[in-house]
């Protein structure tokens, strides 16, 4: 039985799943309910200065019938009295001494930071997370992402915090910056114990076509918000990886961004996260989704033989390379399993119009055929195919050769003109431009299903 418990920069919790600092951690009621349901930790909704919220706060990106693929908010930090929050933290910790309660904090002056850090510690928090990420409302007041985007300011504030902090300090980073490792390194220089990322991404999730206003709409107007949810996972994974691989960051990472299933969590962990934080999924499906996450993680660890979370942290990092280190001799081409093909021909039209014209249609069958010599192995057909394992990418090289762009550059073996024999696209066949015209006219083209041809009548 794998051990799901973690010790993240000194913060212990029974499993790596924490609720991120957000509406689900707004009150002791919610946090207790979450712990009761099986969550390992919770980062309390940010404590700080008094705020006033607007009504209408969230917006969604739906994909077809799927709700909240992406999600944004213009809500601020906790608008509840600090004393209430502190009292409830204390109550939760008494009831759940082995679960992680981390206080997220956001204030301005050095004195305010000192006071609130002490308050959080006195309430029994296991750790502190500094909210340097919020991209709306707070940054205008010199807090949130206004700090996260200025590494020097960030470092200074971390130093203030570390002057008094006796519990682990996590710095939460904003993704609204060119190079995420800059604030990460600043956090390290300031003495932080860990980082967490990503906070939300500045966004407009949609525009109301009748009111001409962005969502969420507040009395006919809107503002940019902070974007999160399943859609942001790829951005989060890349940033987690960047911090995990950077030699000068070397801090434990709490991965945040698009985690909804055990699979998402494992991806964050394999790229270097040693705890994960979840918000949108809990806002969408409630705390009950933790059941799927812990059971999936446990199953995966058992099957892979991982005993602890630490066994898996960063396991994919050695395989994340720069492009110039990839093997140019590796070659795959697509293969269609005719027994599985249902004849939708999406692979054909995707390759034909969106890639390399390497799939053809034959008379008398709806099963397309790969033109091996044109196939560059881009994966597109296998990605659009709606049938599991129908289109597979098969290896064509014999696996004996390995050569990278970096090696070729070092050996002075790179093409310098387009006519150079070694240039990539030189020998790649493309059809004549005019061959496109009318090519699919004999097919039932969408939009012009049937046309009445010139008909001949008797006069």
């Amino acid at each position: 039985m794998p051990d799901l418990s973690i010790n993240f920069a000194g913060i212990k919790s029974p499993n790596p799943f924490w609720l991120a600092s957000a509406p689900p951690t707004n009150s002791g009621y919610q946090v207790m309910k979450a712990f009761d349901a099986g969550w390992g930790g919770a980062v309390w909704k940010t404590l700080g200065v008094p705020v006033v919220n607007v009504s209408s706060r969230y917006g969604s990106v739906d994909y077809r019938d799927k709700r909240m693929m992406g999600f944004n908010n213009i809500e601020l930090i906790s608008d509840r009295p600090l004393a209430d929050n502190l009292r409830e933290i204390e109550e939760v910790k008494k009831r759940f001494p082995h679960h992680a309660v981390i206080a997220s904090l956001m204030v301005q002056s050095r004195q305010e930071w000192h006071d609130i850090v002490r308050d959080a510690e006195n309430a029994g928090s296991d750790g502190i997370e500094l909210n340097f990420g919020c991209p709306h409302g707070m940054c205008e007041r010199g807090m949130g992402s206004a700090v996260g985007q200025e590494p020097e300011v960030l470092q200074t504030i971390v130093e203030w915090v570390m002057e008094v902090a006796r519990i682990p300090v996590i710095v939460k980073l904003t993704p609204n910056i060119s190079d995420i490792t800059e604030p990460a390194m600043a956090a390290r220089r300031g003495g932080a114990n860990a980082i967490s990322l990503i906070n939300t991404i500045q966004s407009i999730v949609g525009v109301d076509l009748d009111l001409f206003a962005p969502y969420p709409i507040v009395d006919g107007k809107g503002s940019n918000g902070g974007y999160c949810g399943p859609a942001v996972k790829p951005i989060a994974l890349n940033m987690v990886k960047n911090c995990a691989q950077h030699p000068d960051v070397r801090l434990p990472i709490s991965g945040i961004g698009g985690i909804e299933t055990w699979r998402d969590a494992v991806e964050h962990i394999l790229l270097g996260a040693s705890s994960v934080q979840v918000c949108t999924a809990a806002m969408h499906y409630g705390f009950g989704i933790i059941r799927e996450m812990t059971s999936g993680l446990e199953q995966y660890m058992s099957e892979k033989g991982f005993r602890t979370i630490d066994d898996m942290v960063g396991r994919a990092l050695p395989n994340v390379k720069h492009w110039e280190d990839l093997n140019l001799k590796y070659k795959v081409t697509a293969h269609i399993n005719p027994d599985k093909c249902i004849g939708c021909q999406l692979c054909y039209t995707a390759c034909e119009d969106g890639a390399h014209q390497a799939i053809k249609l034959n008379a008398g069958t709806r099963i397309p055929e790969i033109i091996d010599e044109n196939c560059v192995g881009c994966n597109l057909c296998s990605l659009v195919c709606p049938v599991e394992q129908c289109i597979t990418m098969e290896r064509r090289d014999d696996g004996t050769q390995h050569q990278t762009w970096k090696e070729r550059t070092a050996a002075d073996d790179i093409p310098v003109t387009f006519n150079d024999e070694r240039a990539g696209g030189l020998h790649h066949w493309v059809p004549e431009p005019a061959a496109a015209l009318g090519k699919e006219k004999h097919k039932t083209l969408p939009g012009k299903a049937r046309q009445y041809q010139e008909v001949v009548v008797t006069e």
Binding site: R64, D65, K66, I342, G343, C344, Q345, L346, Y348, T349, L361, R366, P386, V387, E440, K443, T444, P446, G447, K448, A449, R450, Y452, Q453, E454, V455, V456, V457, T458, E459
Partner: protein, 446 residues
């Protein structure tokens, strides 16, 4: 059996004849339309006789453009709403959906189609208008799927159209011949009113064209005459006792049912003769009207029935019993029907042969003959030069609808011998283009 109690109120009738393809809510339409793969060269389009761009209209529904979806549908087929409900989608568009190959349910194309068309009909949202007047006049005989479709397309092309209909309401068999659980009268007529309001053709109801002088008047007043006359009454079987009370034709029975609804009377024990889709409908309908026992008698085996499998399943589902390999010899009774005398049959080398000595009488108090509709050959013989084939079908050019009399065009059941609403709608549209060519060409050459 008696799965159904005899309906006595409008409400009970509606329950017994509940719609097989009820209107989809917006939520259901979003879920269902999200499943569509948007196939290339989509098999569903090819399977649709009217060639509706199905993946397009489904995507339009999915992206919140139901009006655009309705336009896509109506541009291909003026009976778009009716076809969504009455088409045998199981063997056409939905039957060809690639999902069936995965074992998954095909997309509910018919219901999605009606979801879109019902919105524009209910909101009275007009999508079309008549074309610039050409000065040509076309008479359309018959306000069924062929006649109305032809009229719409001709109006779109700018020709003046007058429709002559023997009955008091439009849409032909869509109203008078389709099973009530496929589409309601209100829904059928709403689509007709919707089309008429947009295209502005005139329909003369209760105005039969049946004599040579009737035709002569049309020939004088109009440039072209379109025959959308459909088929005639149920063919006679030529059996002794066929004239007994309660021995009726299926077409006539269904027409009564559609008009009189719960006031239609049905026998306690009904024998339906025939193995086609109309026989299945008549049998199902008898059961839903509360008949205690309904027997479907067919002279060949179950597998040889002309009806679609799903139609037979539907009949079986309401308790209809099959009686196969029997041929009726006589309708027995004394004034009223009391039974049918059958002889058993065997099929040898494709030929149905009776088995001597196997006669028996199956008791019943009603017989419904669903053994095909007669062709209107005597009426057609009034039209000079108009040829009909050996099966009584109008000889016509399927690309143009033109008959052997150049001023007469035809489509629908009268020309194809009897098919679906969608076939008539598609053929009549092609015929309208044939008429258009004829009118504009002959005008130029004169």
């Amino acid at each position: 059996m008696a799965e159904y109690a005899t309906p006595t109120t409008e409400q009970e009738f509606a329950e017994n004849f509940a719609q097989l393809k009820p209107l989809m809510s917006n939520s259901e339409a979003l879920l269902e339309s999200s499943r569509c793969l948007f196939c290339f060269d989509a098999p569903c389009i090819k399977a649709c006789p009217s060639g509706i761009d199905i993946p397009l209209f489904i995507r339009q529904i999915n992206s919140g453009n139901a009006t655009g979806a309705a336009r896509t549908i109506y541009e291909a087929n003026y009976f778009g709403n009716a076809c969504g409900k009455v088409c045998p989608t199981e063997v056409l568009c939905e039957g060809s959906c690639v999902y069936t190959a995965t074992g998954a349910k095909p997309i509910e194309i018919g219901r999605l189609q009606s979801h879109a068309t019902r919105q524009v009909i209910d909101q009275g949202k007009h999508l079309f208008q008549p074309g610039a007047p050409t000065g040509f006049r076309v008479a359309v005989i018959g306000a069924g799927p062929a006649g109305i479709s032809c009229a719409c397309e001709l109006r779109k092309l700018g020709h003046e159209v007058e429709v002559f209909e023997a009955k008091s309401k439009p849409s032909g068999l869509t109203l008078y011949g389709v099973a009530p659980y496929k589409i309601t009268n209100e829904e059928t007529l709403a689509e007709m009113a919707y089309l008429e309001a947009q295209f502005g053709f005139r329909v003369h109801y209760n105005h039969a064209i049946s004599t040579r002088p009737d035709l002569e008047k049309l020939e004088q007043a109009y440039d072209v005459i379109f025959l959308g006359i459909g088929l005639g009454h149920t063919s006679s079987l030529g059996l002794p006792g066929e004239d007994r009370e309660n021995c009726v034709g299926a077409v006539e029975f269904i027409e009564q049912l559609r008009i009189r609804q719960e006031q239609t009377t049905v026998g306690r024990k009904v024998i339906v003769l025939g193995g086609g889709n109309t026989a299945m409908d008549a049998a199902s309908e008898s059961a839903r009207l509360g008949a205690e026992k309904v027997v479907l008698a067919y002279r060949r085996g179950k597998e040889e029935m002309g009806a679609y499998e799903f139609e037979y399943d539907l009949a079986k589902g309401v308790g209809v019993q099959g009686l196969f390999n029997v041929a009726p010899l006589e309708i027995v009774g004394n004034g009223k029907v009391e039974g049918v005398k059958f002889v058993r049959t065997a099929t040898l080398n494709g030929q149905v042969q009776t088995v001597p000595g196997s006669e028996f009488v199956e008791a019943c108090d009603m017989v419904i003959k669903a053994t095909g509709q007669a062709k209107q050959t005597s009426f057609l013989s009034l039209i000079p030069e108009l040829q009909v084939d050996g099966k009584g079908r109008i000889v016509f050019n399927p690309n143009t609808g033109q008959t052997t009399n150049p001023r007469y065009f035809a489509s629908g059941d009268a020309a194809n011998g009897g098919a679906e609403v969608v076939n008539a709608a598609a053929e009549a549209k092609a015929a309208a283009h044939g008429i258009h060519q004829y009118l504009t060409k002959s005008h130029l050459s004169s």
